[in-house]
């Protein structure tokens, strides 16, 4: 039956044509580069262009206090920034989803999103102008008589946290609003009629219902914070000690690609572990979370 054979053949051809871009993209730009990075991290240079397999790069990471200190610091500060972002974003998401009505709610939502369409570089420039010693806020503090001299507000850990929370808000507000909007008000009213106080309602009804949104937001924010480079290096200056900066230094400044690759893999491992942990804790599927975010 040549008719059928031709139909099968043309279907095969179509499938191949559709598969080709996806496979080229994922193999050449994602899978193979990461395998190569893994190989790179597990070798050591013994002479020019001579390499042996070794764990030396990972040993350096654990024996050199600076490296693992920076790693731990980056992880902890990212966790802190994620928690802070959740605290700051939750009331806003609640206002958008439950308190504001109709046009007001939509307007507030759009207004909250607008700053995040602007480049992170521009937003960071704004914070630098506001916070540096000769900047707007220190001058204002002097003017109001709160401090005698302008104080340097840049280059502190708290500054980095403010910058990171600011950059991350969108990725928390959007999934939170989504999960809070689907919460039926009747449940809250019922709980109230049965005598529950605000705290109990939040704990027993709101948080369990919003858990998928909270997890999705936290996963995305943690991941983006961990991998951020611009905000910590500009707002933290020399004190930023952010792990992505170490990767950059090894790769670009020192041209020690083996060490840089090992650092990259450690960061990737931490990021992946947190994503996996978040999914396990909340019992969600990866694809659902990504779609929500």
């Amino acid at each position: 039956m040549p008719e059928l054979a031709r139909a099968v053949w043309s279907r095969r051809l179509l499938l191949t044509l559709l598969l080709a871009p996806a496979l080229l993209w994922l193999l050449l730009l994602i899978v193979l580069p990461h395998l190569d990075l893994a190989l790179l991290s597990f070798r050591q240079r013994v002479a020019p262009r001579q390499f042996v397999p070794s764990l030396a790069q990972y040993r350096t990471f654990f024996t050199e206090p600076l490296y693992w200190h920076v790693f731990l610091r980056t992880a902890l500060m990212s966790a802190g920034a994620t928690a802070l972002t959740l605290l700051v974003a939750f009331p806003i998401a609640w206002t958008i989803a439950k308190l504001a009505r109709g046009r007001m709610s939509a307007l507030l939502f759009v207004v909250c999103l607008i700053p995040f369409w602007v480049s992170e570089t521009v937003r960071t420039l704004g914070w630098m102008i506001l916070l540096r010693e000769s900047g707007v806020l220190p001058q204002l503090l002097v003017h109001l008589g709160i401090t005698a001299q302008p104080v340097e507000l840049l280059y502190h850990d708290a500054t980095i946290l403010v910058g990171l929370v600011y950059t991350s808000l969108l990725f928390m507000v959007v999934p939170l609003v989504g999960s809070l909007e689907s919460l039926d008000n009747a449940l809250i009213e019922a709980a109230y009629d049965l005598g529950a106080k605000g705290g109990a309602i939040l704990r027993e009804i709101v948080i369990p219902h919003a858990a998928p949104g909270i997890t999705a937001g936290c996963i995305v924010v943690f991941m983006l914070t961990l991998g951020n480079y611009l905000t910590p290096t500009l707002l933290g200056g020399k004190n930023s000690l952010w792990f992505t900066e170490q990767i950059y230094n090894q790769f670009i400044t020192r041209f020690n690609w083996e060490q840089g690759a090992a650092f990259g893999f450690l960061l990737l491992a931490l990021s992946t572990a947190m994503v996996w942990f978040g999914l396990k804790v909340s019992g969600q599927r990866f694809s659902d979370v990504m779609r929500r975010a």
Binding site: W117, V122, L125, M290
Partner: protein, 287 residues
Amino acid sequence: MIPTLPRPGWLRVGTALYVGAFLIFLFLPLVTVAVFAFNNAPYPAPPWHGFTLDWFLGDEATGRVGLFHDSDLLASVGTSSVVACWVTALAVTVGTANAFLMERAQFPGKGVLSLLMLTPLVIPGVILGISILAFASRIADFLSDALGLEADFLRPGLPLVVLGQFSFIAAIATLTISARLKRFDRTLEEAALNLGASRAAVLWTITLPYLRPALIGSAAIAFLMSFENFNTTLMLVGSDAPLTIMMYGRMREGATPVLNAVSLFLMLASAAIALTLVRRGRRAGND
């Protein structure tokens, strides 16, 4: 709590104050950037010295090189635009193919592939950058050693920047376009086929027009994400710096308000794109 329940007055006032403070927090940095683009002083810092357009129009003659005479800055805007156009074209094309692949085709390993398509979104941009840098260099070294070919496009530079940004923006385009294709009513296609249309005609006159909002939306998002990308670009950039890299370099040195001037244009452009998308989205939602 919710409006149908009694809310004490302090809670109402508190909520309003909080939302107000939040909005100030959101817009303060942006407003500051915009305001200091017009300050008549060599640094973007208070006090206010009066209004000037020097940071837009000034040239060597006035001693203040404004945006329109800052050839390095203008060149970097051009570089970013070229990169963004390539990334957009690639991402939307591949994203559309992927959407049809995932929504229409059946093949072994589809589940693994769909999971793999999401991974670029959970890999930090810096790591995407270094892995592509290392892999491209390995291929370039191999070509040079084994065949004596110099593959310059695999060395740090704009082609690698395009590939690096494409590697994760393609995932976003795929998600956006798949989401719309999933909601497509396939009986429309069947009707057209029954009426004698060829497959190509059905695709061209029915399916693609239906996908148009998603195609335009994902193109706009891809362009914006490429234009604003920093992490991946930083690792792959060669001698031609895109705008974000150029701004970063100058911000570390303490730049003149010309950066505020270019930022003001960036803000206006992103706001225009954002508002258009939101309005389109709302209209599509009402249909």
